[in-house]
């Protein structure tokens, strides 16, 4: 499969359609790829992502589940160990909490625990996050990637563009390991170039979304949009931002981070999730450990506040990172000496 050049293609697709197309291609290729989830059949799952797939693939490959998240995850594992390649949709990432035992204690560990006798090719599709997906409240807006990044044996992927969403999901479905595949709800309608030619994006590879010389900004998921906008706004000030999208959160492409930092000497990390214990802390520490001598300023994080997500929009807006918080952080770091 050759890698088509997204800069040559002109086809635009939404993030949602890109995800659907990835599933569709893989389900056509392999009838053992089966989508399980609540309302995934005609309704297309929580957000319509799988619409039309049931019509094409039928019950054999698209299966409505009862509201039994833990059993669904266990079912996926049993099926995965015996020849299927399940994709699970959790209607909201928040509900994966009900299945975390099967995901983290079982699926993540079975290849190791059983000494390589088996493996678990499962993709857990997890729509998460808030922002332009408004007023969903404390149980439908969280960003929980950090839980899963802390579990050896799992891979964690989080695309920020339609192009990445498609290529990474195809890689995730083909991966022999369990993959937590995070989708940002507020990105579903975002459009971007997605070539018609088939391609995959290997897991574990970051992407430099913007090259720059002044500072390294690492951003993922919905935050990527903010970072790109902030970068444009900072150009006139002479701040030339390099933006790295790790895309895979575990294993993450630390070499790519280090290379950029050795060039820019300054770092801002952005996460939507609440600050304490988020994944950017890990990245920050890795950079600090490896690039201590190259750093001209403290590494600064822009992150969600340490609160449950409130319902009222006026409160909600205070909780998440936004462009002005990001600009302020970048400036602080750039003007530090």
């Amino acid at each position: 499969m050759s890698m088509p050049d997204k800069d040559i293609s002109t086809r635009k697709l939404s993030y949602l359609m890109a995800i659907r197309e990835a599933m569709q291609e893989e389900m056509r290729r392999d009838k053992n790829v089966i989508l399980f989830g609540e309302d995934v059949e005609r309704h297309g799952g929580g957000f319509g992502v799988s619409k039309e797939l049931w019509e094409e693939f039928g019950d054999q490959q698209v299966r409505n589940m009862p509201i039994s998240e833990n059993c669904m995850a266990g079912l996926a594992l049993g099926a995965a160990m015996t020849g299927c390649r399940p994709i699970l949709e959790f209607m909201f990432m928040d509900f994966s909490a009900l299945a975390i035992d099967q995901i983290c204690n079982e699926a993540a560990k079975i290849h190791y625990m059983y000494g390589g006798q088996t493996n678990a090719p499962i993709v857990y599709r997890c729509p998460q996050g808030g922002l332009s997906y408004k007023s969903a409240g404390a149980h439908h807006s969280q960003s929980l990637e950090a839980w899963y990044v802390h579990v050896p044996g799992l891979k964690v992927v989080f695309p920020g563009t339609p192009y990445d969403a498609k290529g990474l999901l195809k890689a995730a479905i083909c991966d022999p390991n369990p993959v937590v595949f995070i989708e940002h709800k507020a990105l579903y309608n975002n459009e971007g170039i997605v070539p018609e030619d088939e391609y995959i994006i290997p897991l574990g590879k970051a992407d430099v979304k913007r090259t720059g010389s002044s500072i390294t900004v690492i951003a993922y998921g919905y935050m990527l949009q903010f970072a790109l906008e902030a970068a444009e706004k900072l150009m006139p000030e002479g701040i030339d931002v390099e933006i790295i999208d790790p895309r895979t959160l575990n294993p993450f492409d630390e070499e790519c981070f280090f290379e950029s930092v050795r060039k820019t000497h300054r770092v801002v990390l952005i996460q939507e999730a609440c600050r304490t214990g988020g994944v950017t802390a890990e990245w920050g520490m890795r950079i600090e450990e490896e690039c201590f001598d190259w750093l001209d300023a403290p590494i600064v994080r822009v992150a969600g506040e340490d609160v449950p997500i409130p319902y009222a929009q006026s409160l909600e807006e205070k909780v998440w990172p936004n462009i002005s918080k990001i600009i302020a952080a970048i400036k602080n770091v750039c003007y530090f000496n």
């Binding site: 609540e38 309302d39 059949e41 005609r42 309704h43 409505n64 589940m65 009862p66 509201i67 039994s68 998240e69 833990n70 059993c71 928040d94 509900f95 009900l98 408004k134 007023s135 969903a136 409240g137 404390a138 149980h139 439908h140 506040e305 340490d306 609160v307 449950p308 409130p310 319902y311 009222a312 929009q313 006026s314 409160l315 807006e317 205070k318 909780v319």
Partner: protein, 325 residues
């Protein structure tokens, strides 16, 4: 009193009708707000299902507890919650029950015994068990009603709760509102449980399937269950057949059922229409009195809307208030 049907007093009956109407008007007002873009987020109306919380709450004291769901406005209004503070909550105002940190899916009204709405399907049920435990511990005669939908029967935690309620004879009424759908999924396609009394008996509790569109049937079944709980004679599993007239949430496309099916249900299964007919037939109330009642309800909801509209937004700088007690 098992099996015997009790006719509530006229006063009680009119009160029940009034509460059903109040819920209906509240939900319709919320629907309007949603249409006008004032409400964002998921708002799940219980239109068509009003008889259940009303028939149950007719037996409850103010300090009895309920746990509720994503479709919880009716549970709260029936339990006596202040519609002004409910409306303010939906509209994201500081005067809301939860100071607008909760919203429609997380309404709660601790002043009238609501321990809150839990939109994570079935999550409220073990919490209800805990309240029931604390009742036993304190030796009070309160009871707990745990509301959940038919879809919640997929969640294992429900069975864990049945088990504990049986083992400890907890004063709880498990209240399943079977509206035949979980979002787009027909419950019969994903939930195997059919014989409710048989199932409950195998767990050592009492189970009963009841017509949830007839508020008097609800009233009677709930009366027995509440009585059993109050006397510390154990838990009951009530399974009410009902129908939701709106989409799963306002704005939901409803591809899974025909307009005809919905219309037919509205025509034949509206618990309010049915009850009004019964009341009029039995001569308990006149058409005019009903119209007056409707006006009263409408006025109350209008006042609630006005209250909510005039209420202040929260202070954004207080977004971190209430994270820790």
């Amino acid at each position: 009193m098992t099996g015997q049907s009790i006719i509530p007093s006229r006063e009680k009956q009119l009160e029940m009708l009034q509460t059903m109407l109040k819920i209906r008007h509240f939900e319709m007002a919320a629907g309007q707000l949603y249409k006008r873009g004032v409400l964002k987020g998921g708002v799940h109306a219980c239109i068509g299902q009003e008889a259940i919380p009303v028939g149950i709450s007719a037996h409850l004291h103010r300090d009895d507890y309920i746990t509720s769901t994503h479709r919880g406005h009716g549970h709260h209004i029936a339990k006596g919650a202040d519609v002004r503070r409910l409306m303010a909550e939906l509209m994201g105002k500081e005067t809301g029950y939860c100071k607008c940190r909760g919203g429609s899916m997380h309404v709660a009204a601790f002043d009238v015994g609501s321990l809150g709405a839990y939109p994570i399907v079935a999550a409220g049920v073990p919490i209800a068990i805990g309240a029931a435990y604390s009742i036993m511990h304190r030796g009070s005669d309160q009871v707990v009603v745990a509301y959940f939908g038919d879809g919640a029967l997929g969640q294992g935690t429900i069975y864990e709760a049945f088990n504990l309620a049986s083992i400890w004879r907890l004063p709880v009424i498990f209240t399943c509102e079977n509206n035949y759908f979980a979002v787009s999924t027909k419950t019969e396609a994903t939930v195997a449980l059919k014989d409710i009394p048989g199932f409950a008996a195998s767990f050592g509790i009492v189970g009963k399937r009841v017509n949830g569109q007839n508020v008097l049937d609800v009233y009677n079944a709930a009366g027995e269950a509440v009585d059993r709980a109050r006397k510390k004679e154990g838990a009951t599993f009530l399974f009410f057949d009902t129908y939701r007239f709106e989409g799963h949430y306002f704005g939901e496309p409803e591809i899974y059922r025909s307009r005809e099916e919905v219309q037919k249900s509205k025509d034949e299964l509206d618990p309010i229409t049915l009850y009004i007919a019964t009341l009029i037939n039995s001569g308990m109330i006149s058409k005019q009195a009903i119209e007056a009642m409707e006006k009263d309800c409408q006025r109350e909801i209008d006042e609630a809307l006005a209250f909510a509209q005039q209420s202040p937004l929260p202070n954004p700088d207080e977004y971190a208030r209430y994270v820790y007690a």
